[in-house]
Symmetry: C2
Subunit: 360 residues, 2 copies
């Protein structure tokens, strides 16, 4: 079952009282057999609830400062055309009653609450966006995270980890950006991918015939899901852990990095595609920032002097988080410089910042 | 004034009755001095409203089939931290009461209703998206349409015509797509732009030194707004109606096209950047489709045999509208072929279809 929640709001240039609007609406509610309860708001405008058949509920508020709000809730198997008519009748009547006093009439797209497929996945700065997801293809709770793959008619299949939109099949621009936006030549190079369980970076890298790519992904279940449902992204790279020019280690990247540092193993590129909120088998670091700095420090240590470190940052709207990240870059063991780029990743519905970092 | 509307929803694997949940919540409501009214739903679950000080309202519903919904409304000048605490307390209590029965807990980002700057501009297929708009820079009602220019921290300034997102300063990908995605050479060519009042296409075209561009835009007020607030898009092209290699006619394009057909004037490219819903001084055609076909027919007539006609189509999600458009292409006086491309325009928050049309 799902609850459909409609809204209809009138913004007014001057406040109106309930006496001039509510009586004109009552006949519409009564026609629909809605039972009225008027509530005492202690001077904060008129507030009435109307309860009808089939679980219908309407909340009508004439606020004291130039705003009228109507909420209508019904079940998804209700007679939707009838409820549209009810809303249309209310809108028409209020337009007639309020005329030139109206500055805006707003009916939001219906909110669907409790639906099988959850379509609301907010942006990094907490704005509401509704995706077109129509199916859950894969859902697993691994030892590390909740993994979902949805189908989107426009973006293709899309990976969501712990509620964060990770990557859709439409999102080659993400993979291109985190590989340096086409300005790098990976042929014959040694590359380390941290995370990257969707296989997108790996699939693009192997096309360029690198000498060797090592990908360190902690979560086998992410790769299992992507191998099945994100093949437009990963191709056949996740079908085996050992390819011609790549190797996938299903491990926490921190001990692997520590081992490489100890062995003196170096890479031409390190591509950090870890989730924004760290996942690790390591003892908890003091904070997320400490953990990010640990990863950065170790990565820079395994980077050849001319090497480059690429990573995704965050949504351009969360300026504070971006600043804090850039602050960390000034605190590394080895001094670094960085550049950043704003990129439009189709399924993200917000612009995204990508970083390039290199040794000074 | 604006109303903040919070939601908190619990999806359950099996239905619960109110007796097992509601009593555990009442102390939380009473602490906040909220006055309870229980409504008769005629067998459709438990429904209670709670009215508090400062115009606060809570609606609690324990639906009969595995869903609990909570709505909380308050004014934007209310003590938001206190209301967050109320929601947190309700969520915590319900998590404790319902435990393993819970399949999803969802708190949507707060809906802001009646705010000065309207941030909700739905997609073509009617999905709810909240933009980051923080300011209205320009608002005019011209003879043809309502014109707004908002400021968006991430997309730059953005033109909205009659409630449709038209173009943001971030949207060079739109302009590039409607100019043929970089595959055309406009140097020395004659180009006709229909609409295009934001100046984006004109500004990109003149960089390529065409022989002559004629732009026919009906609405001076759109150009006035864009000249002031969309300069990253239009550059200085809208500062004058006559440039070195361009001319802007502030006219309805239909009579202009008719005149060109009569005179036998031809163009290498026609770029149709008219709004999706037609605006014209012509007598109303039978339907939108008739009007679109009229424009297409006239445009194809002024196109050189090797010429190309570019236009934006619609959101990829509105498949029916796209099919109907393509159907029109089979009904033109002069037979045409077409190709289409899906493009990610940053501020659209949905993928968009662009068409290239040419004479068979």
């Amino acid at each position: 079952m799902a609850l459909r929640h409609y809204t209809l709001d009138f913004s007014l240039s001057t406040a109106v009282d309930a006496a001039s609007t509510v009586p004109g609406l009552l006949s519409i509610f009564h026609e629909q057999e809605l039972t009225e309860t008027v509530h005492d708001t202690d001077g904060h405008g008129y507030l009435a609830t109307f309860v009808g058949k089939n679980g219908r509920l309407v909340v009508l508020r004439v606020h004291s400062r130039g705003l009228i709000t109507i909420d209508l809730q019904c079940y998804d198997e209700d007679n939707i055309a009838q409820l549209d008519n009810l809303l249309n009748a209310l809108e028409e009547k209020l337009r007639a009653l309020l005329k030139d006093n109206i500055t805006r009439v707003k009916r939001l797209p219906v909110l669907t609450r409790g639906a099988n497929v959850d379509r609301y996945w907010p942006t990094t700065d907490g704005r509401l966006v509704e995706y077109d997801f129509d199916q859950v293809l894969y859902e697993e709770d691994s030892a590390y995270q909740n993994i979902k793959i949805f189908h989107s008619p426009q973006f293709g299949n899309i990976l969501v980890l712990n509620g964060d939109i990770n990557l859709a099949e439409s999102d080659l621009p993400y993979t291109q950006a985190i590989m340096g936006s086409g300005k790098e030549n990976y042929t014959g190079k040694e590359v380390l991918i941290l995370g990257g369980g969707d296989g997108g970076i790996l699939a693009e890298l192997v096309k360029q015939k690198p000498k060797m790519v090592v990908m360190v992904e902690i979560d086998q279940k992410v790769m299992d899901g992507c191998r099945m449902y994100m093949r437009k992204t990963c191709g056949d790279t996740l079908d085996t852990l050992e390819g011609d020019c790549y190797q996938i280690l299903v491990e926490d990247c921190v001990p692997v990095l520590r081992k490489y540092v100890q062995e003196g193993r170096m890479f031409d590129y390190v591509i950090n595609d870890l989730t924004a909120v760290p996942i690790s088998t390591e003892p908890e670091e003091e904070s997320t920032w400490e953990f990010l700095r640990l990863i950065l420090d170790l990565s820079i240590k395994v980077l050849r002097p001319t090497g480059k470190y690429f990573t995704q940052g965050n949504g351009v709207c969360v300026k504070e988080a971006l600043s804090l990240y850039e602050e960390q870059l000034g605190k590394l063991c080895c001094p670094v410089d960085f550049s950043k780029e704003e990129v439009c990743v189709p399924s993200y519905l917000e612009l995204w910042v990508f970083y390039t970092i290199w040794k000074k």
